[in-house]
Symmetry: C3
Subunit: 358 residues, 3 copies
């Protein structure tokens, strides 16, 4: 979680070409320095750009009749999830199998975790069992950082508490980049000389910011890309973000508001967050019905955004609550693209991390 | 569930040979027109015959030292089960792996389904994650039809509510055909000129018809094959079938009775259905003991059938309730053959569906 | 569980070389006579030695950049676990995949087992589904013996009740052998002419012997290897072992004591067993705190053992109860080596059993 390494906003792009990903990652000429992916806050603009371009290459792999490359053959990817999940778990599993890795799934509910074994012991055991890469989701913020201190291979954070969900932020960035920016033929979709991939673009994150690891990771990548970022929701669910915004250094600014009309006006991207029903008990929200009435992303509200605004959602959706069903599948929606891009981004990350000598 | 397409009872067999299944299914010359397998009611006699002959080829694959063909290499088969299952889930998994597909298992109890995501969203997500084929079991009748409207690949119904279990009906038909009909060398085991594969054969389905998707799908395939079909059980568990039988067009007739002696007399095939203990609560059955006494398939009762009658059961069995233990493993039993044929039939169906351009 | 076959303590080693394991096991020249692995009590010293040397070969495979051999390609290994487990289940899964087998996982909690199907039917079904090898964990002692009577392939016991855990005992023996005995270059690590691999070595098993299948299997292999074996714990958890010890024939003797100081003095190996919290309810232990105070393996207590004594634990650990955290990760600990050796031993056993014609 080191904030020491600056987000290089002015770096020259490493390359404009697409990495070649059919071979084993050790043979890549492009350097990737990180052994783990714990959050996006330690990634430079150049490194984020490398993830984007490697994802381009993985999208090409996915478009092949047999969407498989032998890059990680014989590597063991263990997926350890302490929370229920479909899309993230399966996305990592498919990504790893597309790279020809062997995948082991461990759902904590049916594992020795229920016997009271500590996380440290579990991670040590998984490594001793032969895991080269560990994908992990845990309800406690910071748990993957603890795992990374012990594990000899690479740890990929698949979501920890309210803290971070780095692969989600990177797939969101990739989805925006692919849709809002000129195609490769026209001009390179890498960071421009100013380093501001999303300069002048208004991006709104709407809903339960307080409990959202998706939002926290997206704040880093979107502000690093130069977006005009707005966070919008009921004031009880924005707690702490005002203070964070006011601390922001150059290029790390964002606007916090409960005024949904102001937030959506001329937006280029609207990302609705899931309202978790279990939050109601905490008294932070009066009712789902009232939330839907005041902050639900309806077609009427979306009309205030730009006509070609992107509608995004990390899923799973509570349709009729944070997003209206017709908006979820409307022409502006890129929600299923996010899912497919998620597989490609995770392939890219597994590939890049596998090339790092530990 | 369209009843519009007639069951071609008089069609000439497409071919008498066994399809060659080592190559990718796209290269097959034999046409298979359906993108999904939702029920058996839309299959013509020729198509059912093609399934049977493709299954013959898959049985040959299973007999090899390495029971694997590369036909579906690089394809993703996702198995989404909303109900507990061993045999059907594993059968599809083994079938897909024997064809070299990548398999993803999703058990609804541990998935985002528990977060309230709609089935439509789940299916859309699974497709976006890269699934080419979706095998699905769901407690709601019709759920796979909804999935098929959304999913861009092929949906295979692994059982929906009380409605249908098409792969079970096809494996049951295959098992009967293999045992009752002359071997390929002697005469083609395809539909005869009359189209009546089981003409003159008495087949009894015994037990809890009311709640049985296995029975509903078998009624279609067995009557289409010309069997003299009898449904037998306590009258509370036959509700609705009398009316169905009386509506029956030519070739779709069957007999409904609570008289087990009449049903079993000279039967060629007796298929016992599972009595689910949880039905007791509904008041439809007085007790398991009484059910066993009146309708349990015992050796004494089986004596009324033909000496070489086949004893079948879709599993899992409640031995001592709907079937006596000695009958379940007796010389007439083909219950474990059903399980092995189930793998071969599912290989055949995955193979045929994979060849359809969507 | 036959005790008839003597443990050949005086046999000449079959060979001193390491078996070649890249090819299919049928081509091996070394004979392995057993179709199943249910316990260690039926293994001769020569057979145990063959397991050890085959494990050496598998360790070499694990050290390769791609830790995979094609030996079991196309074989189906089904893992049926009726109890929660991480390390044993994953260890078998990784072992089977390293040998290129296809693996099917069945967790009883989500299978038809919950529908009341008998174990016999489940095993018959798994065989009919195509399983060549069945790895099984069951809470009832003896369950794998029942399975072996039915299953046509090989059954590997992954732990049954309090009875046996043969792969754990073999990986423990391998770990001790690798650490305590001269390296292969210096002298063969096979059984010596006296057959006493661990002659003169003091090995202590510490803790809840009563409920431990790990201990029961280890008693066989360690006494067969000639170790000076001590069992130590509260008298309530040693019940029955005194009588067993007094029955012991030559080479089957061990010491039973509640005196931990006597047990640890000059020990070469100390194996701490897991204290299961759920045992407290039975009144066998006053409290975890008292257990830890009297029998926990602390650094102070370990000082009584030899300076280079090995500390072992089958996992998962309750750190601070049966073992102090600093001892668990201290320089004497070989606990993570046990886990890695477990994968290699299970590869060796799957490989050897697959070569037996059934």
């Amino acid at each position: 979680m080191s904030l020491a390494e600056p987000i290089a906003g002015t770096g020259t792009p490493i390359a404009t070409g697409t990495p070649e990903v059919d071979a084993a990652p050790e043979t890549q000429s492009v350097p990737w320095p990180h052994r783990h992916l714990l959050d996006v806050d330690g990634l430079s603009a150049d490194e984020i750009d490398l993830v984007m371009r490697t994802t381009d290459a993985m999208r090409e792999v996915l478009a092949r009749p047999i969407a498989k490359v032998p890059a990680l053959r014989g590597r063991n990817v263990t997926i350890l999830f302490y929370e229920a999940s479909t899309r993230t778990r399966v996305s990592f599993e498919v990504a790893a199998k597309n790279l020809s890795a062997d995948v082991v799934n461990i759902a904590a509910a049916t594992s020795s975790v229920t016997k009271g074994e500590s996380l440290v012991d579990t991670v040590r055991t998984i490594e001793a069992l032969g895991a080269d890469m560990l994908v992990m989701r845990h309800p406690a913020s910071g748990a993957p950082y603890l795992a990374a201190e012990i594990f000899g291979g690479s740890v990929l954070n698949g979501g920890d508490g309210w803290h971070a969900h780095p692969t989600q932020a990177l797939l969101d960035l990739y989805t925006i980049r692919e849709r809002l920016l000129p195609a490769p033929g026209a001009a390179p979709r890498t960071a421009t000389a100013s380093g501001q991939l999303l300069a002048g673009r208004k991006v709104v994150i709407l809903g339960d910011l307080l409990h959202s690891r998706v939002a926290r990771s997206n704040i880093w990548t979107l502000t690093a890309a130069g977006a005009d970022l707005w966070l919008c929701g009921p004031s009880t669910l924005l707690r702490g973000f005002e203070a964070w915004a006011s601390r922001g250094a150059a290029g790390r600014r964002f606007t916090v508001t409960s005024n949904i009309d102001a937030a959506l006006r001329d937006a280029d991207v609207v990302m609705a967050l899931r309202i978790q029903r279990e939050r109601m008990a905490s008294g932070l929200l009066p009712s789902l019905r009232e939330y839907a009435a005041r902050y639900g992303l309806t077609r009427a509200r979306l009309a205030a955004a730009r006509p070609d605004a992107l509608v995004m959602h990390p899923g799973p959706m509570n349709e009729g609550v944070e997003i209206a069903p017709d908006v979820a599948v409307g022409t502006n929606s890129v929600i299923t693209e996010q899912v497919t891009n998620g597989v490609a981004v995770r392939m890219a990350l597994l590939y890049l991390l596998a090339g790092v000598k530990s």
